[in-house]
Structures are given as structure tokens and as C-alpha cells.
Subunit: 352 residues, 2 copies
DNA sequence: TTGTACGCGTTATCAT
DNA sequence: ATGATAACGCGTACAA
């Protein structure tokens, strides 16, 4: 364990506002005015001050500023697991918006364990974050809020939170159903459908939309429950294959990867024999074989919206919940065109 | 644009150290001593103070503390792109170590553009980070360092940096070569080999190890250059298929996904006709079809090591560079066992 | 063991 | 347009 109390060379102290004031022959108040574009300063003295500052390579200390302003310009961020690609995309959206406002995100990970969530939140509060954002919170409104504005939630699981960004999961289910019911190239409609879900509200809502759309066509469907893992998708797929099957909607892309694998092992062709639609449009979707058609969550935009909410919260503005609409991304697992052309959307994920 | 100057209700001020001192009938110095385990305080007064603090729900303001200590307890983090799974894993490692020391990571993304890297660094410095970590820096030693200890690099591209964590890429190339040269189940050794690389030092080192190991067996190899994208892997694969081919080493998992796709399209069986080894063991590797054998970067450990370096740097300790060794992860793309059993390693990626 | 008093670097108010 | 000065909340020599 590193002993953080050790601090040999206390970082050569840079010149402060006082030094600049002395150098420029003015008071510290005027220097402050210049660096905050506040009040009025004559062009002449402004230049003298800027020159002196450059000479001493001075810049205002955020430590001092934060103290007197009572703000840290930090937004806490709690993520279940940073390496989940979908979350990564959300974080990008958050980061972009915050950076544009000279603010930064303080990262905290609850490591997929609900019980640590409050502890992580407390740790972030220890850094005096002005507000916070929680992705897929398990705790909900119970998070601590000392000296901060509040937590914005990106999460479908806990309804009723005042500041939240969510996806219209039911609409996602409808989109999936419509895609699977499109006439196949052979002209024969699909009739043996299935849903692979998972525990939780999120999956239930997706299923509700899926079921509603099927009902319109007078169709029923088989139902299996997994846990969003690939393994559970594989098991679900093997189970479904004991019965007739020509279309599957899976509540997550990772789990859909497992379903696809089950189909490969049983020798079924996708999409001609069985069509598959996933959910999320995580970056693995276009890498699967065949490329997975899926319901896209606009993760980047959802992150950006949450960040904007946090900023509004800090500014004391009114904030209302937002619901985003999913979009269906058609790829090879539902589209039987033999040699699909490459579009910029596919394949060109980020390098590495 | 939100106007951050708006700040209606300045967050009801919590009781400060003064209030606690008054309530407990002691001086603020004694309160401070209690909360910092410094000096000596009688058991009696300590309890009185703790009680008063609890009563007023007081906790020390990090803003004030940071100012007087001249530290922010923040570590800046610059990542090319947060949604890259491999980076996500590194960040997890960083976060875990920092959190264990009451510190936090301030997130910055250079959005895959080298020119923004210095700007992002400057932004993090604006928050007075104590030190920083840069993943795959393009800028290297040129990053600004005002009032901070320095930047730890996780990066192979820029040698000579004093504080760095890197992977033994050459060893990775050797591992890949050995795996591809293993006798096949049919007993006939592979002789038509290829390397799919990319620009940059990293790929060159991997190739060097690969080539050296092949040379030991008296073998040569064909060579194609991509850019780590899936698309470039597909193109590379199609190009290689114009010649005899029974083994490919690809410098990145994403690009390997493209190579696999090219092999599918041409009807080759993997691994019986062509064996494939990727690089990184990014979380996509076990999701590809077939599951991809690959050279694993210990990303989590590399992140953790970098964080520890940053902590040591802050503590003023001596820091020396570290090199990590890769490990070969054998999966279906080199191992022709017909129905591979599921190991905890495979399939069970994080949920979602 | 406890208290006094100063400093940390800045912003903001009120004079001038 | 500019200056003097009081906060901001805390840590810490130094004194008691």
C-alpha cells in the first residue's frame, strides 16, 4: 500500500495571483477581474496583467477557486462495469457534453454489485462532486446527496425518479416483431416465433411490445428466460430448437450471440431458416456471424442527455425526464441478401 | 448552452468545522485533529467531538482540505476512445487501485484524435489533478505538467518515457507462431502462413517475434497490412486467399473478425483448413465464430500497475517502467476439438 | 492534551 | 477603473 502521506518535494509552488499583481503593479482584485472577464478593466492594465501572468506562467488555481465558489466542477459517474461497450458509448456522450462546459466526469464503478453502489457514491461525494449520473442503478433514490444537487439516472429499472433518461423498451419490442414478420425472400411468412428474455423490468417491457405486435398478426410465441450472458443465450437456443422455430427476438446482443451459436451447432441457416433480432446494437452486433440485426439504443445521445440534465441541475434549472426511441438496424441475421455491401455503419468500428 | 453562472439556491450550507467545535466546546484545531488522526486527543473529547459531528452531520469539506494541502486527490485519465473494450478493462484496473486509496480518476477522451490529446490534458490540469495516466498516447513526453507530478503511459508507441507500462509484443508474436505451428489433428504441419499487421511500432514488434519463431522452423510467411478495423481484416483475408493459406496471425481481434469473415465467404473451414490467432483477447474474441484463439494482453493488470505508478509518483517514490507478458488463449480457431466445452473463461463475459 | 493564529489562493463586496 | 479586505473551510506550527 502506498503511503500517500509521504510527500517529499511539495511541488515547487507556482506564482500566485499576488505575484502577478505585484509584477503588474496592480491589486489582486484587478488580476482576478481579468481572469474572470468580470467588472471592467482598461485595455492598458489588462495587457500589463496578461504579460505579467505569461512571464510568471501563472494560471488561477482551481483549488482556491473551488473553495470560494463552493463548487468542484466535477460530475460523479457511477457505472456497473466500465468494460461493457454499451456503457462505454454512453460515457463518451457524457464526457463530450461535460468537457464542452469545462467540467469533468469523476469515474466510479460499482463492479456489478448493487451493495457497493452507495459506497461508491459516497466516495464520489468525498470529492465534492456538484452532481452525479448513475447508469443502471440498483439502488435508485437511496443514494447519498450531501452537498450536491442530485443524481441523474440512466436506467429503466427504477421508475419514478425525478431526473432520468430512459429508452422506450416497449417500442423496441414492437420494432423487433415487425422486422421478424417482414415477408421473407421466399414469400412464406414466419410463424414459429420465440422470445429470449431475462429477469427485470427492462426485458418485460421489451416483451410486452413484442407480444402486442405479434397479437396484431394473430401470432403467439415461445418464451425462454436467460440472464443476458452468452452462455444463457446458447442454452436458450438449444432449448428452443427442440420445437419448430423460424424467428427469435433476444433481449440483448450478447445473449443473441449465444443463440446464434446454438443455431450454428444445429446446422440451421440464419436468416433463411431462422431469423434473429438482438437488442442494444452494442459493438459486437456487426461482428457476429452472421451480422446481427438488432434494436439500437441511442447510447451516445442518452449519455449526452444525462450530462445535460446534470448541468441543468447544477445551474438550478428545471429538469424533466426524457425517453428515447430505439431504431431497428437491419443486418444479415434478418436480411437474406447474399453478399451484403459494406456500409460505413458496419465493420468500421473504432480501431483495435 | 447551459449558463453555469446561474446558481439560484447555493446549496444550503452544511455545518462547518467551526460549528462542530462550538457544539463540542473545543477549538477547531482539536476537531481537525480528530478527523485526521493526528496529534493526540483524549478519549473523552474525541467522543464529544464525534457526537457533535454526528449531530450536525458534519464531514470535512474536501474543497477546503484540498486547498490547504495543495492536492486534489484526483488522477487524470486520457483514453483515445472509452468504448473500446480493451481500454475499458484497463480503466477498471485503474479505477480499482485508485479507489482503494481514496482517489478518483478524472475521465478525459481524446476521441481518437492525437491533436486533441494535449488539449484534453490541459483540461484535466484545470482540475488540478495530482498526476495522470495516458493510454496509447500519440503525443508522448510533450504533455503539459503544470502543478502535477507527471503522466504515466500505457503505450508501446513511444519508447523512452520514464514512467510507462507496456506489453512484450515480441513475445506475443512468438506465442502466436508457436500456436499456429502446433501439429494439427491430422498430423500434417501448417506451412502456408501469413501475418496481418497494421502501421506502427506495436505491430512491427509482434511481427518480429512471429517471424523469429517461424525462422526457427525454417518457414516464411506472407504479409498484409491493415488498420486494425474489421473492414481492413476482411480485405486482407480476401487478398490472402488468392494464395495457399493454412494459418494466419492477425495483430488485433477486431481485424481478426474480418479475416474470419473472409474465410467464411470463401467457404474455408476454421481451424481445419485455416487456423487463426488474434491479438488482445478483447471481449469480442470468444464471441466470434469460431471462437478466436488470441494473444491476451493482461489489460486489467496493466491498468492497475499504471495506477500504482501514479500513486507512487504522487507519493514521491521512485518509479521504474514495467513490461507485462502476454498469454496465449486457445479457443476454437486453432483447436479442432469438435464440441468445445464451456469454461468459465468463455461465454461468461459480463452481463449485457 | 488543547488552543491561538496564520496561511492556503481565490472570489466578491464595497469603497474610492 | 481600481484597490482594500473580508470571506471560503480547513490544516498546522507554535504556544500554553
Amino acid at each position: 500500500m502506498t503511503d500517500l502521506t509521504v510527500q517529499p518535494k511539495p511541488l515547487s509552488r507556482t506564482g500566485g495571483i499576488r505575484d502577478v499583481a505585484r509584477q503588474a503593479g496592480v491589486s489582486i482584485a484587478t488580476v482576478s477581474r481579468v481572469f474572470n472577464d468580470a467588472g471592467t478593466v482598461s485595455q492598458d492594465t489588462r495587457e500589463r496583467i496578461m504579460h505579467a501572468a505569461a512571464l510568471l506562467s501563472y494560471e488561477p488555481s482551481s483549488l482556491g477557486r473551488n473553495l470560494v465558489r463552493g463548487r468542484s466542477y466535477l460530475v460523479g459517474l457511477i457505472v456497473p462495469n466500465i468494460s461493457v461497450p454499451l456503457y462505454g458509448t454512453m460515457i463518451q456522450g457524457i464526457e463530450d457534453v461535460l468537457a464542452r462546459h469545462q467540467m469533468s466526469a469523476l469515474l466510479g464503478s460499482s463492479r456489478d454489485r448493487p451493495d457497493t453502489e452507495a459506497r461508491v457514491a459516497q466516495g464520489l461525494l468525498g470529492h465534492a462532486v456538484d452532481a452525479g449520473i448513475v447508469i443502471n442503478s440498483q439502488v435508485g433514490a437511496a443514494l447519498p446527496v450531501q452537498r450536491m444537487r442530485g443524481w441523474v439516472h440512466i436506467s429503466p429499472e427504477i421508475p419514478g425518479l425525478p431526473w432520468r433518461v430512459e429508452l422506450d423498451n416497449e417500442e423496441g419490442g414492437r420494432l423487433a416483431a415487425r422486422e421478424l414478420l417482414r415477408n421473407t425472400s421466399s414469400g412464406s411468412p414466419r410463424t414459429a416465433l420465440a422470445y429470449v428474455g431475462a429477469p427485470g423490468r427492462e426485458s418485460l417491457e421489451r416483451e410486452r411490445g413484442f407480444a402486442a405486435e405479434l397479437a396484431l398478426a394473430g401470432l403467439n410465441y415461445r418464451r425462454v428466460v436467460g440472464d443476458y450472458s452468452e452462455q444463457s443465450g446458447l442454452e436458450a437456443g438449444l432449448e428452443l430448437l427442440q420445437f419448430p422455430l423460424d424467428a427469435v427476438f433476444v433481449a440483448g446482443d450478447l445473449m443473441a450471440a449465444g443463440v446464434l451459436r446454438a443455431l450454428h451447432r444445429s446446422g440451421r441457416n440464419v436468416p433463411t431458416q431462422v431469423a434473429v433480432v438482438g437488442f442494444d446494437d452494442s459493438l459486437i452486433a456487426p461482428l457476429l456471424y452472421p451480422r446481427l440485426s438488432t434494436v439500437r439504443q441511442p447510447a451516445y445521445q442518452m449519455g449526452a442527455a444525462a450530462a445535460q440534465m446534470a448541468l441543468d441541475l447544477i445551474a438550478g434549472l428545471a429538469v424533466t425526464p426524457m425517453t428515447f426511441s430505439p431504431v431497428l438496424v437491419r443486418r444479415e441475421s434478418t436480411d437474406p441478401s447474399p453478399e451484403p455491401p459494406f456500409t460505413p455503419d458496419e465493420g468500421r468500428s473504432s480501431s483495435r
